[in-house]
């Protein structure tokens, strides 16, 4: 939850010429934007480049933000399109959107993990590991829903889909995450569910 001045107050100041205040918006949303970028780009440097590009684009288009949606929803729309165009341009080696390939990568990653390493993982670490085994789209959807403070309607606007489609996709993404967790962290899941 944000404290201090609202996004709209900061935006008004920036539009009036106080460019320095834009840093407040960057600080407020940089972790989220970077996390989403990291779902698409496997390298941190690439993710940081995407995130920087997003904030520059948002700054340049700030006058187009009409305020009829949350600033975060508007910003995440830019994140979404920037991530996709970045992938198209640079053809980064991400985990493919093809789920079968994703699962193959996940299997190979997990096979190298020692049992005692797995046991040491906390519940949160386990979820954070599991989400990295999902496709970028699934991971983005879950992150938007759980960490982006976005409703299904807002996510549908960000992703350019119908709300019902988003709902079904979210349901499937969670199911896949659960399956991944069950497959790769069997013992932990048993402990959790017991």
């Amino acid at each position: 939850m944000n404290t201090g001045p609202s996004d709209n107050e900061i935006i008004s100041s920036v539009l009036l010429g106080d460019q320095a205040r834009y840093a407040e918006l960057v600080k407020r949303y940089q972790n989220f934007v970077f996390t989403i970028a990291l779902r698409y780009a496997s390298r941190r440097e690439d993710a940081e480049e995407i995130a920087q590009d997003v904030f520059v684009k948002a700054y340049r288009s700030l006058a187009d933000f009409r305020g009829d949606s949350k600033f975060s929803t508007w910003l995440y729309t830019i994140v979404s399109t920037t991530c996709i165009s970045f992938l198209r341009k640079k053809k980064i080696d991400t985990r493919s959107l093809d789920n079968e390939q994703v699962f193959e990568v996940a299997d190979s990653q997990d096979s190298g993990m020692h049992a005692n390493q797995v046991e040491q993982k906390s519940k949160l670490q386990m979820v954070n590991e599991a989400i990295k085994l999902l496709s970028p789209d699934d991971a983005k959807l879950i992150t938007l829903f759980y960490k982006g403070e976005q409703s299904l309607e807002e996510i549908s606007r960000i992703m350019g889909m119908e709300t019902n489609t988003v709902k079904v996709k979210l349901h499937r993404a969670r199911q896949r995450l659960k399956d991944r967790m069950e497959k790769h962290f069997v013992q932990e899941v048993k402990d959790l569910m017991s």
Binding site: V14, L15, G17, Q19, A20, Y22, A23, V26, K27, Q30, N31, F32, F34, T35, L38, R44, A47, E48, A51, Q52, F55, V56, Y59, R60, S61, L62, A63, D64, K123, L124, M126, V127, N128, I131, I142, T143, Y146, K147, L152, K167, H171, R174, Q175, L177, K178, M181, L192, M193
Partner: protein, 175 residues
């Protein structure tokens, strides 16, 4: 017997707070009275709570400074609505609609038996029969004419919008 997928969908809607009051009370009754529903609810709730604990990654410490350095080289672009005149947009729309309508009229006029192709002409001092319109108005001429008009229209529009945008950017830059 309710399918597993349907049960999970209803439970997720319940957990996310997306179901109606009526559905909510039905699901609550099912959870309270059915062991299978109760177990599944507990399982999904655990997953839901875990997902809420997803951690966000942090960019490098210099990130904000990098962004601010980058944007110092940019200006905020004027809002699109300020340089896109709705009358121009409507004008383009009307231009293309008229072009299409004209084209359709021409095509239907060429159909055999069409009244448009043989309009009754009554001009006393001018013998239209002697004028060979076929040489002037044929398909190639029509296409070329329409294409030139379309291209000219788009070039003029681009020049107009570009000029207006530059003017606004100059004003914003000064401001």
């Amino acid at each position: 017997m309710e399918s597993q997928a349907n049960m999970e969908t209803r439970l997720w809607d319940y957990i996310d707070g997306l179901c109606s009051e009526e559905e909510k009370s039905v699901v609550e009754q099912l959870i309270a009275g059915n062991q299978e529903w109760k177990d599944k609810y507990k399982e999904l709730l655990e997953v839901h709570q875990l997902m809420a604990g997803i951690e966000l990654d942090e960019p490098s410490l210099r990130f904000t400074r990098n962004v601010m350095e980058e944007i110092s080289r940019h200006h905020i672009a004027p809002a699109a609505k300020s340089y896109i005149n709705k009358r121009v947009v409507w004008g383009i729309g009307a231009f293309f609609l008229l072009s299409i309508a004209g084209f359709l009229v021409y095509v239907f006029g060429q159909l055999p038996g069409s009244e448009i192709s043989a309009p009754p002409v009554n001009i006393d001092n001018f013998n239209l029969d002697k004028v060979n319109f076929g040489k002037l108005i044929n398909n190639t001429y029509t296409y070329v004419f329409v294409m030139i008009n379309a291209i000219l229209g788009l070039v003029l529009l681009d020049m107009y919008l570009g000029k207006k945008k530059r003017k606004l950017e100059e004003e914003t830059g000064k401001g």
